[in-house]
Symmetry: C2
Subunit: 489 residues, 2 copies
């Protein structure tokens, strides 16, 4: 009978949730863009800033960005790179040094013409990237072969004026890291760019954000301006479209030549370095939401969630609230980021919906009946229904449950990626497949002509891979690559 | 005889160091400003950016800033505040909302007039602070008394055009954190602003940077525009001048009224909140260098030092280098940030000078003779001479030595502060004392007229304190305060 009651209560609560949630969010299946806007607002992730195209990142989302920064930064530092800070402002003339670079950014630039109460003699540009300043400082700081490799990274805001802004995905100002390195040989530069691509970006995206990515090269037409090779991590969003999550570029000697980044080798000869650059941004936040979200809101992988567990006191009597507090403390003691919800209002149902919307991985509910039975009720955000756990086992069970959930979320995202990727042999089939997901087609079959053909329908080559889904060898690419094509953000 | 040799070698090395250092830095006693410029350059801390007044923060200094951020951020979060990110750009019209505020910043503003390839309809300002945007979002996010207190903080870059820039101390762009909070009562706001001042800033400055600070109120004329009370942490630099290290403001209801930051109380009545704001910046980096530096360069307190110990292999034979590597690993295992210097060039003397210049707290030297005696030679950066330690005791001794050094550096800085602070009873005496340090004078004796008098000689009231050197009570200030007056950066 107890179980019957529990079930009935759970069911009532569940239909309560459904009713609430239907009011809250557009359907993810029928209107994905609207769902995205809704979830950003209702889960209190971001607001539009007062200047069009800018963004206010609210505390809940910023806490995720802090975790992203810390995870990516630790991986970057493990490769030996050091962080620097370069100025926001760049003299307009400095951007003209590398012609190809300017052409890429010019319409996106924000220009300061007045400062200190008067017009500036030379306008200054708000950095669209710090690339030119990295070039200047590396040219200055690198003297001898003993200064190589020079491995630098920066966390900063950059500005690229957006005509069609979309929060996190395309904003006029965004937060990112950009790395720039200089090496004595192409081999060393290629190995380092690959290491960043695989050990920093791919590892972080898959093992922290639980987003499986397709590693590969950009096609020549999609390559970063000035790069001899662009490595990308492409992910599939909930609507089957692609999002480029991070890129790592080999710049050959193009950039070093433009900026005179040279060194004296051990024989006293002046040599030009080989450089790389690589970046990831707040765009990954959009990718996180669009990869895992469902009709009820966000679903956050435990490793990135600001609160891994929310403990809801179902009633506001002292005994319940005390028990909930104890659970939070016990979980914190075993390293679980836990949050107490002992609010009197709103009611339990609405509070549960709120945490569901915010994607908290595990919701623990404690009420008088649970306490009588020395147990708690809990729900995993990535599964239907609820279960119970003996109170005494919580601290030993929850960490493993969170690990399991992390793995399951990656596996489920990978399953969707596989299911919605079709191997095709003609351009027409590729076009058809890209309506709902990714298509894989021989690059020799598609070619740059076929790529242009697909571009007309807003379908792009996301990356080129080996037949077994690996990134090609930068120094000796395999001859028979396949192209991943898709619609993209 | 062994000891004799050791002494002779140490002495030769020491005079080598002196010779080297004399070439490197201006004398700290005779030309403090030049010494500061020199140390920034030679210790590879910062460069000028390509736009006048901007700054490149090099890896060694940025590593210190990262530690500062992490220490300050942890303390801010412990008070319950959450981080957000607000946009770099603010419409010019938004700054006009709070007249007093604009007057304070207008000549310092950088204005973007062109973006996206055309002239903007309304110019946008690069944030001199995010105060106005905080006002707007708090007005929006705060609805009911249940949303209070709202405790927000932001780490970001801000721009205030500088006519007389000086790296770290006054740069057109700098990095900082600014907190903004809203409370239901003045009491709560005052208590929170005090908590930030004492538990975040004063605690961090004294216990991490080893810089003793005088906590107190700003005099009315030095108060932040719009504040009803400004709490400051004032420190004494090596040349006896003061540097304001961080401030925390009670804004009363001025700011909340201007931005309509109101809430519905439990009786359904609309009430105006009481707000605070508080900030600290990369200026603290300048304070760190100028507080502890000496003729040989930086001296870094262990808790902020990027490398707490450098282990120098005196010779480049395998045995020595292996031993040095083992020491680094052993120290890392007990949580000491250690760095290996096993470079072949430059020679030992120049390498030792370099680490001294960079202020590494403990320099461990390992050579063949040390290894024969199963010991190492070490030097504390805050003391003259060298000592030896048995190899086997290193990992157990060094952590305690670092703690001791941290305490000693704070005690020594406090000793200087005390020695160079004179209690005076007339304005003339205060003027005289401010030539070499701080003066303490009864605020009732000085008054606002005396303050203006001193201002003519570039001497300012740094803060008002109780007679026993404490910060006054914000809600009920003691009647007989004293003023600390000094020249200042």
């Amino acid at each position: 009978m107890f179980i019957g009651l529990r079930r009935r209560r759970a069911k009532e609560q569940y239909s309560g949730l459904v009713a609430e949630r239907q009011k809250i969010l557009a359907s993810i299946d029928t209107d994905f863009p609207r769902w995205y806007q809704d979830v950003l607002e209702k889960a209190e992730l971001a607001d539009n800033g007062p200047v069009r195209g800018t963004m206010v990142i609210r505390p809940y989302a910023y806490a995720m960005w802090e975790r992203m920064q810390s995870e990516v930064d630790a991986r970057i530092k493990a490769t030996g790179a050091e962080n620097v800070y370069l100025p926001l402002f760049i003299p307009q003339s400095h951007l003209e040094r590398e012609a190809e670079h300017v052409e890429g950014f010019s319409p996106e630039l924000a220009v300061v013409t007045h400062a200190g109460g008067k017009e500036l003699t030379e306008p200054v540009v708000v950095r669209p990237t710090s690339e030119t300043v990295f070039g200047e400082v590396m040219a200055k700081w690198i003297q001898s072969h003993r200064d190589l490799p020079m491995l630098l990274n920066q966390w900063a805001n950059v500005v690229r004026w957006e005509m069609r802004p979309r929060l996190f995905l395309r904003t006029s100002e965004f937060l990112w890291q950009e790395g720039h390195t200089a090496h004595a040989t192409r081999e060393d530069a290629a190995a380092y760019a690959t290491r960043i691509h695989l050990e920093v970006y791919k590892d972080f995206l898959e093992n922290v954000l639980a987003i499986p990515v397709l590693p590969g090269f950009k096609s020549p037409s999609e390559r970063f301006a000035g790069a001899i090779n662009t490595m990308t991590c492409e992910a599939m969003m909930g609507d089957g479209k692609a999002l480029q999550m991070a890129t790592s570029h080999e710049l050959g000697q193009n950039f070093a030549t433009a900026f005179d980044i040279t060194y004296t080798d051990s024989h006293g000869q002046v040599q030009t370095t080989w450089t790389t650059s690589w970046g990831s941004s707040t765009r990954m936040m959009g990718g996180l939401f669009m990869s895992h979200g469902d009709d009820s809101g966000l679903r956050l992988p435990p490793r990135i969630a600001p609160h891994q567990v929310v403990v809801i006191a179902v009633k506001d009597d002292d005994r319940t609230v005390d028990a909930a507090k104890h659970i939070v403390a016990d979980l914190a003691a075993v390293g679980v980021r836990s949050r107490l919800d002992a609010r009197v209002t709103p009611g339990f149902g609405r509070r549960a919906t709120e945490w569901e919307l915010k994607g908290v991985p595990i919701r623990v509910e404690v009420g008088p009946r649970d306490l009588d039975a020395a147990q708690v009720t809990y729900a995993r955000r990535d599964a239907e229904g609820k279960s119970t756990l003996p109170l005494a086992d919580l601290a030993s069970t929850i960490p493993a449950l969170l690990d399991q959930m992390q793995d399951d979320m990656l596996a489920n995202a990978r399953k969707r990626l596989t299911e919605r990727t079709r191997h095709v042999s003609t351009i027409d089939e590729a076009r058809e497949a890209a309506k709902t997901g990714f298509a894989v087609i021989d690059w020799a079959v598609l070619g740059e002509a076929g790529e242009q053909e697909l571009n007309k329908d807003a379908i792009t080559v996301r990356c080129l891979q080996t037949r077994d889904g690996q990134m090609p060898d930068p120094l000796n690419p395999e001859p028979d690559l396949v192209a991943i094509v898709a619609r993209a953000y």
